[in-house]
Amino acid sequence: MEVDRELVEAAQAGDRGALEELVRRTHRSVYTCALRLVGNPDDAADVTQDVYLRVVRKLGGFRHEASFSTWLNRVTTNVAMSTLKRRTRRFAVEGAAVPADTRDPAPEPAERAEAIALARRLERLVAGLPEGQRQVLVLRDVYGQSTEEVANAMGLTPGAVKVRLFRARERLKAELEATEGGQVVALAGRRRATGRRS
């Protein structure tokens, strides 16, 4: 998500067109972050709308000290966490939170192709993590927030964040290895794959 400073400044100055363009350019990214945090598409759409309502209110106070996308991610995190506190979860995480059609924002160099393919597989596995672990992992490892920022956003101690993070990474690695092993074996013959996964 790349946003020009000029566009943000125009939106801050009250240019309605600039604000709408800002929304057009960033709404997919905001929606994706919300989906990864709240775990279902309906809530993610609500969070996306609430994020922009908050952006309209707070944009005047944005001082360009961090990048706009970093600021927007923080707003999204705060709104998503507030939403989760207010609502009872309506869906089980398994199978519900996967961005169905992730796409690259721009063509990537060949050496990153494998990492992107892996990231796509990871989406489903991350969505299957327990909610607390998933949120910590998404904020820390996907969006690069510090342990303290994650702790503040989630109302946890830094120690609790580290524990959840450790469990999430350990579980994700194990599931990724199981999936990749399963896929590799499946090419050779289904019998061994079935045995491994059961």
């Binding site: 929304v23 929606y31 989906l35 309209v56 169905a100 992730t102 990871l122 690069g144 990474r169 690695k173």
Partner: protein
């Protein structure tokens, strides 16, 4: 000597999450232990792939963008420039101060005039009961 069991909790961590001592201990052990080296490499690969996830975007349901645009169109104020908002706020504060000051001054004046007012004169009339506090409240 550091065992694999002791190192295991350190393997998934990023360098910035560990102390210098932990980083050194992990590096030393991983250099000598092929199993832990494989684990560490797997975590490193996982970390890179997770960071790449930030660049992947999901498409929201149809109508989400339009819904957002309508919502912000309703809520949006015309002016969002902080300098203009600050100026407007200052002007509002000055106006409010003047209004309050004038109200206070006029109240003080009316209190000074009170002894010669009709209510005071009525109280001084003979043969009228002096109002008790309760009666005064009732009135």
């Amino acid at each position: 000597m550091t065992t694999c069991h002791n190192i295991r909790p350190l393997l998934p961590a990023r360098a910035e999450e560990l102390s210098r001592f932990e980083i050194h201990t992990r590096a030393e052990h991983v250099a000598d232990c092929a199993r832990c080296a494989t684990e560490a490499a797997a975590y490193s690969r996982l970390g890179q792939a997770l960071a790449v996830m930030a660049n992947l975007e999901a498409d929201p349901a149809d109508g989400t963008l339009e819904r957002v645009l309508v919502a912000i169109g309703r809520r949006r104020t015309g002016v969002t420039d902080p300098r203009i908002l600050a100026a407007a706020g200052s002007a509002g504060a000055v106006v409010a101060t003047v209004v309050v000051a004038r109200a206070v001054r006029s109240r003080r004046r009316s209190r000074r005039r009170a002894p010669s007012g009709p209510w005071s004169r009525r109280l001084r009339l003979p043969n009228l009961p002096v109002p008790t506090p309760a009666l005064a409240r009732a009135k």
